[in-house]
Amino acid sequence: MRPNDSKSAGTSRRAVLAGMTATAATALASNQALAKDLVVGFIYVGAKDDYGYNQAHAEAAAILKKMPGVKVVEEEKVPETDDVSKTMESMIKLDGASLVFPTSFGYFDPYMLKMAAKYPKVEFRHCGGLWQKDKHPANTGSYFGYIGMGQYLNGIAAAHATKSKKLGFIAAKPIPQVLININSFALGAKSVDPSITTKVIFTGEWSMPVKEAEATNSLADQGIDVVTCHVDGPKVIMETAERRGIFACGYHADQAKLAPKGYLTGAEWNWITVYKQFIADAQAGKPLPNFVRGGLTDKFVKMSPYGPGLNAAGRKAVDAAKAEILKGGFAVFKGPLKDNKGNIVVPAGKSYPETAVELESQNYLVEGVLGSIS
């Protein structure tokens, strides 16, 4: 098998050389000149400019690129297969990366864990995974933001904008991270007016523009007049909502430009806070933290500036709720709370602040959400 492979490789090598005059590779030289720099690898599951999840990370990476002593290497559209192991390994071996940020959930287990065991001197920090001290290697870790609070504020804004008292949520898949957002959005709206309902549509895919546009249209046809979402790239949803003349709350990144009339506000990631902290520790030679979480208070998450769709009363209400959250100790999920099948999911007297681990395995839709997860 080996001779066969090297033969085919050899022929293409010769073809390559025949097609050009071989000179010293300038691309390689640039790598060696930077031996002192901290090389940081970023891996994205989708396109860097998706107006959504991946763009939020890439925007932070772009800021890091300008920092002295830091070299950023990036790769986009890496699938959640063994390809990502090879990408990490290639960044480590060929680019000299000593800190790697695989930013998609599915990269964690088994790919990142395998690579971490193979390269104990390289630090791996993963976005969204649940790092556990007794289970996972010490050179790995995870970070994530409590963006549910942002969706709660989105819900308050939506409640002030809606006339039909019907809101819509377009979601990819019924997984805990998504369910927290749907429920927070619905609870935010209900905190203003308990009669408000939130209709949820699952598209089944993280990125499927035609289906997302269809979902937005079906929601608008039902008289729903505010939508928000949890898919990788919300661009099409925002644009379709704007064309239908309904309001929209953003998610992942600032989408105000896409819906100049109907944008209310949005829940955005602010990853630069997290990345700067990791880089500072790495440059100072300090051990990197393994489990990092933060919300609005910690500036891991931020809100888009208010759009023209949100009236003064709405702005005041969102400001007030935000001030309350920033004081600390605020809990969206507090008892008594029923799911939409009538079961008590949070008993009276009990409350889960955003940091509660219980929320990371949420498997219900709260009362007032129309839809089901199975």
Partner: protein, 302 residues
């Protein structure tokens, strides 16, 4: 509840069917001349990108449509020209073209993912109704009517013009075409290029009307499915209209069922258009014999 779903399916079929209509008409034209072009998926994606970029740069969406048609014409012409060479397999070349078309579109389309280009305006056919839902469902893209027109022109052309007859003879029997001294390769080149121009317009619909945005996930296989729709339509342009509308309506079933509370099994409902297609194919197939209406020289029909 039923009427809600019905309305959603009507709106959905008017919104979603247009790209299927254009690509299936284009494929129909190509196949009538005895060639198959699986590369129309690549043409569709390239058309979408070129249309969006041109509309953004010139500020005129109609210029975008023209550019998409030209891009399709060129890519289709390439397919037609290469397949004119002896021994070159048109099915394989179509797959290569699909790869090249999408690759080129993604490569040059990067700078146009973020900007917002001017889109095509819809024709408000629902102005008489008080229902905003119906008004929206009947806000129809001018390209849809252009597609209908193209279907009727093609239907008439195949039956009643010299050119149409020539295409049909070349597609049905190479021997007859040779005997009559018809330029086989030139006819097929024309049919492939023109067919791909139509597919390019189908792509322009995606980026300039619905969903009206350019990104790499824009096409979900519309160009490939069109090949199936042509078989479904028995190589008849008028039937292409029905096939596309039916396919579009079935595609709207998934989201609209969820809005009315049917939340179980959404993956299966999303697959409804494919199940419908397969069922029709099975029901209309004649065991062992060639399909009625199929051009005799088609490489997939042996």
């Amino acid at each position: 509840m039923i009427d809600t779903v019905a309305l959603a399916m009507l709106g959905g079929s008017l919104r979603v069917s247009t790209p299927f209509l254009f690509v299936s008409l284009g494929e129909c034209l190509t196949e009538k001349a005895g060639r198959i072009n699986l590369g129309n998926e690549g043409v569709l994606v390239l058309g979408a990108m070129v249309a969006y970029a041109t509309s953004y740069e010139t500020g005129n969406p109609w210029a975008g449509i023209a550019a998409a048609a030209i891009a399709g014409l060129l890519l289709g012409g390439l397919h037609g020209a290469i397949c004119s060479l002896t021994r070159v397999n048109d099915v394989a070349m179509g797959i290569a073209l699909m790869l090249a078309g999408t690759g080129t579109a993604f490569f040059f389309g990067k700078p146009y993912v973020q900007p917002s280009a001017p889109l095509l305006p819809g024709i408000p056919l629902g102005f008489w109704s008080d229902s905003p839902q119906l008004r929206n469902a009947l806000n129809v893209c001018p390209l849809f009517f252009l597609g209908l027109l193209a279907a009727f022109v093609m239907h008439w052309g195949f039956r009643s013009t010299r050119m149409g007859l020539r295409i049909r003879i070349v597609g049905d029997s190479q021997d007859a075409a040779l005997a009559l001294g018809l330029p086989i390769n030139r006819t097929r080149l024309f049919a492939t290029a023109a067919g791909s121009a139509l597919a390019g317009i189908g792509g322009a619909f995606l980026s300039l009307y619905y969903p009206g945005s350019w990104n790499e996930g824009l096409s979900s296989g519309q160009g490939l499915m069109a090949v199936a729709l042509v078989v479904f339509a028995r190589w008849n342009p008028i039937n292409c209209i029905y096939a596309s509308l039916l396919f579009g309506a079935a595609g709207a079933l998934g989201p609209s069922l969820q809005t009315v509370g049917v939340t179980w099994g959404y993956y299966l409902f999303y697959a409804a258009p494919y199940v419908v297609t397969l069922t029709v194919l099975i029901l209309t197939a004649r065991g062992g014999t060639a399909l009625r209406g199929m051009p005799g020289q088609l490489s997939i029909g042996r």
